[in-house]
């Protein structure tokens, strides 16, 4: 099964996840004041912060899926199986968001 792949560097992934979590919390609470001098509107600022936070969360989720769940070393078929629900999930979220954005 997965015995032949070289051992993933779990502690490196762990460090990455910890750092990204810290950056997320920092973004949520400090970016607003840090960018206050740039003259962005309140709405643009909120949108920017939301996009950064979602991006960081997806990055972390991908790290967990690829390294901890070993998807990186799985067969192409299993990768497709794992990715399959992402299409309907994305469609659902995008359709719902389009109602309001």
């Amino acid at each position: 099964m997965s015995a032949e792949h070289k051992k993933p560097r779990y502690m490196l992934v762990w460090g990455g996840l910890a750092v990204l979590t810290a950056i997320e919390v920092g973004t949520a609470f400090m970016v607003r004041s840090a960018l206050s001098g740039f003259g962005l509107s309140e709405q643009t600022m909120t949108m920017l912060i939301v996009l950064i936070l979602i991006g960081l969360a997806l990055w972390k989720a991908l790290l967990v899926a690829l390294y901890f769940m070993h998807l990186k070393w799985e067969t192409r078929a299993l990768k497709w199986l794992a990715a399959a629900p992402l299409l309907p999930a994305t469609v659902m979220v995008v359709v719902v968001l389009m109602e309001y954005v």
Binding site: A77, L86, L97
Partner: protein, 198 residues
């Protein structure tokens, strides 16, 4: 198991080339993605459709405690992956110790969540506190239920490990509970961001 070699050969003939339990878990996790997407979709509708404004991050919820709890769950995922790596090398002691560490951290996560709930309810924030309260308790509650189930299943797996059930060649049970556990961690990463930080 004597049939293990024959089973492995059979798996290679299927297009997925993985064990039946593992394939079953991935199919289950695919359905779980849709379950949580349903919750997140409802959240988007209720939040953006809400007439009143939503509290700012940290206004009602305790972000530092939950950030710590998030870190704890990430650490438990590392412990789980170490348990799996141990049995892949035939290290029985490592398997048991890392499984125990995962269980302790998982149970602590639920404990901190329970503490958070009691504090919030004490301050008058309940599932009946408007859309914010309903969505918060629905999303974190369903996730907490998943963590609790994971901890119970891992206790069962640890019981089997203590009886020497898993070997270097046959440890699909450890891999399957690991997949579930990492998925629960992955969902929390998303939920923490959208419920606590946005």
């Amino acid at each position: 198991m004597a049939t293990h070699g024959a089973q492995a050969a059979r798996f290679e003939q299927t297009s997925f080339a993985v064990g039946d339990k593992k394939l079953g878990m991935w199919v289950f996790l695919a359905s779980e993605v849709m379950f949580f997407t349903g919750l997140i979709g409802s959240y988007i509708i209720l939040r953006w459709g809400a007439s009143s404004s939503w509290p700012a991050p940290g206004e009602v919820l305790n972000v530092p405690i939950t950030a710590g709890n998030t870190f704890l769950l990430i650490c438990s995922s590392v412990a789980m992956v170490k348990a799996f790596a141990s049995i892949e090398e035939g290290n029985q002691k490592g398997l048991k110790l890392w499984l125990l560490a995962t269980i302790v951290m998982g149970a602590s996560f639920v404990g901190v969540q329970a503490y958070e709930y009691t504090e919030l309810v004490h301050h008058g924030f309940t599932p009946a506190s408007g859309l914010y309260g309903s969505t918060f308790y629905a999303m974190t509650g369903f996730h907490g239920f998943h963590v609790t189930m994971g901890v119970l299943c891992m206790i069962w797996v640890l019981g089997k490990a203590l009886r020497g059930h898993y070997t270097q060649e046959n440890h699909q049970g450890v891999e399957v509970i690991g997949l579930y556990w990492h998925f629960v961690d992955l969902v929390w990463i998303i939920l923490f961001t959208i419920v606590y930080l946005i």
